[in-house]
């Protein structure tokens, strides 16, 4: 087991045993276990940097490095796109383990032979690595600490200033983590770096993570993400949640983000945004299923099938006439037992509960509990259907800590 810290600053000698400089960094190519490609040697006398490819290196060991050639015969290794520098980009940086539960720093790196090639095998994250770097590893008590190692494959580098480290693999990894775990990491990282993490996720995951965060951080993050990306992510959220976030932003910024979104989504959010959080209009969502009374049951079933991704929760189907006035409601049960060619008008319930968009949250809540409803229709002052308030949105507003 060779520690990278023991290698750093080692004297580098050529084949005539002349010291040509000190080892400054190591270049590896990124893969599951990165293979060492070259060493960076700094000749402090000549003020010259050699990048010596591994085929010119005779021996690489603790405190000593020897080369196969004389200094003047060395040729420089050409850095590849997939290469990174261990000291510059990995050592002392922050990493997360692939379970996404912990964030820590790279205290040291373990090198070893793997399939006949010197590779970076694991990362030291424990106290012993810190003492080793301070030259105190052999002190009593400290030498009893056991090294804490995570395999190179088992972690993700958070940021390193080298974009090639944000590989496809890293992104796949992050996207696999639970939104709540990612949200914890984002909180730990704060707005700017949290935004960098969120922007490496896909839009859907990013929206889920955003929904988990507290309001202040949510807004700060959206500001850091940039208009276009923010628009894309907000599109993936339910319109009422997106409207809540945009509501906390300065008006001008919110308008510009909405302008980045697909017109249809943007329109929905705009309708929601000018209501207060604690009135029906602010609580409602515009994601619900509405049909005209003359349609058939088969049509409704088809509609349920195609909207399965966009509208995850459906308790009632709302029936509206051509002026958007609500005329009835259809429960899922009625729908389930009806024949395909039945006309909706014949099976819908016509006593439908509605509230006005400016109705207060208490009023909405008492309606929902009094009549045992999962959701209630919200209408404007000329009785046109605007959206629906679901019971869980009311609960979330009333008991935010739950």
């Amino acid at each position: 087991m060779l520690f990278f810290s023991a290698l750093l600053n080692s004297e580098v000698k050529d084949n005539s045993n002349q010291t040509i400089g000190n080892l400054r960094d190591v270049i590896v190519s990124i893969q599951d276990y990165p293979i060492v490609r070259a060493v960076v040697v700094w000749d402090s006398k000549k003020k010259l940097e050699h990048i010596v490819a591994m085929d010119q290196v005779e021996l690489l060991g603790k405190g000593m490095v020897s080369l196969k050639k004389r200094e003047n015969d060395l040729y420089n290794y050409t850095k590849q796109v997939s290469d990174i520098l261990l000291k510059d980009s990995v050592l002392d940086r922050q990493i997360i383990d692939n379970e996404g539960m912990n964030m820590m720093r790279v205290n040291d790196i373990v090198l070893g032979n793997l399939h006949g090639e010197l590779s970076a095998i694991s990362i030291e994250i424990g106290l012993r690595g810190i003492f080793r770097r301070l030259g105190m590893e052999q002190f009593p008590l400290i030498n009893r600490l056991s090294p804490q190692l995570v395999p190179w494959k088992g972690f993700t580098l958070l940021e390193s200033g080298m974009p090639q480290l944000q590989t496809e693999q890293t992104q796949k990894h992050l996207n696999r983590l639970h939104p709540a775990d990612l949200a914890n990491l984002v909180e730990e990282l704060n707005a700017k770096r949290g935004a960098a993490l969120v922007s490496s996720l896909n839009n859907e995951k990013a929206a889920e993570v955003l929904e988990e965060l507290d309001d202040d951080l949510k807004v700060a993050l959206i500001e850091q993400l940039g208009l276009e990306r923010a628009g894309d992510i907000l599109e993936g959220m339910s319109p009422d949640q997106a409207a809540d976030i945009l509501d906390d932003l300065p008006d001008e910024k919110a308008q510009r983000i909405i302008a980045e979104m697909a017109p249809k989504e943007g329109q929905k959010i705009l309708e929601l945004i000018h209501y207060d959080d604690r009135e029906a209009g602010g609580l409602m969502t515009t994601d619900y299923i509405k049909v005209h009374p003359e349609r058939t049951v088969a049509h409704v079933r088809e509609k349920l099938r195609v909207t399965v991704d966009d509208i995850p929760n459906v308790s009632y189907i709302y029936v509206v006439d051509h002026e958007k006035h609500p005329v009835g409601v259809l429960s899922m049960r009625t729908l389930a037992v009806a024949n395909d060619d039945t006309i909706i008008e014949d099976i819908m319930t016509t006593n439908l509960f509605t509230v006005e968009a400016h109705a207060k949250i208490r009023e909405v809540a008492s309606f929902l509990t009094k009549y045992n409803l999962f959701s209630i229709a919200v209408v404007d002052n000329s009785n046109r259907l605007l959206g629906i308030v679901m019971v869980d949105d009311v609960m979330r507003q009333l008991f935010p800590e739950a």
């Binding site: 912990n102 707005a191 951080l217």
Partner: protein, 412 residues
């Protein structure tokens, strides 16, 4: 006209959105060591050091702005940036410097709590354990963000210094003239007092706190100009209050040749306003400042150390989720409380010495900050320009010269 009006409002709103970091950090700067420090400056040298106060205000503004800018550019705390740029060994030097300075200030602020309650006749052997446990609970339960607002609001208590100052009827013209009249004496006592003035105003922990604050707030690059203005305003407000503390002390303590070696004597500076009850006002102010100081500096130390070692550091985590973080908080509060409890501990002197220690160590951290601010890879477009570099360097050199002088004066 309508457009013009709207335009101006937009700026005002943008400014309101960035309020916090500069003003709050600066306000916390007037902790227990601050109140006693400025009182001492006024009591010993009257108006003589007001010019130095102006210079120190500039240094405060410059260094705080650097911290805020690094925060915006990196999105990281100072501890993390230092570790990533300088590697572990140099980071340890920064960490030790920070720990020495912060411990000094925390012990001093714990002492300030004891001194303040002492004015009410309460023994430190009762007061210190009680407040230490309370402070620990507040920090451990993560209630600090709520309590912080109370402390900051009550720091409006400093207004009494401004009022007192008018009651004491000082000669305003000499005071204002002193602001622009350079004056320096080269004796040990003067240098030490000057170091107190520097050390209580520009602090190592302040450097860490401003940066974390800006990072927490998630200030974007486009909002930075407003943040910068806010940081400058914060530096100005702090020293605006300091000005009145010094003038009040000058008009009372200095004018009547009252030396200041105890809290009771320091309270005399408030006499023109509060008469014989001056010590009540002073005691309340000192207690508040001490509590604020212990909590802010303890938290900042724990955050910085956690960030350097890369361990979890969130206030709302459980003990076993962030053990190192909570151990640091517990140890700091425990050790400082125990030291203050040692019989015969010269609490009032410690308040003054801690400022000296901070002033001597300060340039070390500022050199790290300077190097970071000049690293294109870290700072990008926020890199220090040439003018900023000259000003920063001038500040650092001034601080080093003062430190060397004070070490020379004290140890030769």
């Amino acid at each position: 006209m309508g457009f013009f009006k709207k335009f101006r409002w937009r700026y005002v709103l943008m400014f309101m959105a960035v309020i916090g970091p500069g003003i709050i950090t600066a306000n916390a700067d007037n902790d227990g060591t601050g109140i006693v420090g400025y009182t001492l400056v006024g009591a010993k040298y009257g108006l003589n050091m007001l010019f130095a106060l102006v210079v120190v205000t500039v240094i405060l503004a410059v260094t705080q702005e650097l911290g805020a800018r690094i925060g915006v550019a990196t999105g990281k705390g100072l501890g993390g940036v230092i570790r990533e740029k300088f590697g572990l060994k140099l980071t340890m030097i920064a960490l030790i410097a920070m720990l020495i300075s912060n411990m000094g200030i925390i012990i001093a602020d714990m002492g300030a709590i004891a001194e303040a309650m002492g004015l009410f006749g309460l023994s430190k052997y009762i007061v210190v354990p009680v407040f230490a446990i309370l402070l620990w609970l507040v920090l451990y339960k993560g209630a600090f963000s709520r309590v912080e607002k109370v402390f900051l609001l009550s720091s409006a208590l400093y207004v009494v210094y401004i009022i007192t100052c008018f009651y004491a009827k000082p000669n305003w013209m000499p005071a204002i003239k002193a602001l622009v009249t350079p004056s320096i004496q080269l004796d040990k006592d003067y240098i030490n007092t000057l170091m107190v003035l520097i050390g209580t105003t520009v602090t190592i922990w302040g450097q860490f706190v401003i940066q974390s604050f800006v990072v927490d707030k998630g200030i974007t690059a486009e909002r930075y100009p407003y943040q910068k203005a806010e940081v400058f305003l914060g530096a100005f407000i702090t020293d605006f209050v300091s000005f009145f503390i010094i003038v009040a002390a000058a008009a009372t303590l200095f004018a009547n040749h009252i030396p200041i070696t105890t809290a009771t004597q320091a309270a005399q500076a408030l006499r023109p306003l509060a008469g014989e009850q001056a010590y009540i006002l002073f005691a309340l102010g000192l207690l508040n400042a001490g509590l604020l100081g212990v909590s802010v500096v303890t938290l900042s130390t724990a955050y910085a150390a956690s960030e350097i070692f890369g361990v979890e550091s969130k206030l709302d985590r459980k003990w076993n989720e962030a053990p190192a973080f909570y151990w640091i908080i517990t140890l700091i509060i425990g050790i400082s409380a125990l030291l203050v409890l040692v019989p015969g501990m010269p609490l009032f002197q410690i308040l003054i010495w801690s400022n000296n220690v901070n002033a001597v160590i300060l340039p070390i951290i500022l050199i790290y900050v300077y190097k970071i601010a000049n690293d294109k890879k870290i700072m990008g477009t926020f890199k220090n320009g040439r003018v900023a570099n000259i000003i920063t360097m001038a500040c650092i050199v001034l601080l080093i010269v003062a430190s060397v002088f004070s070490l020379y004066a004290n140890f030769s």
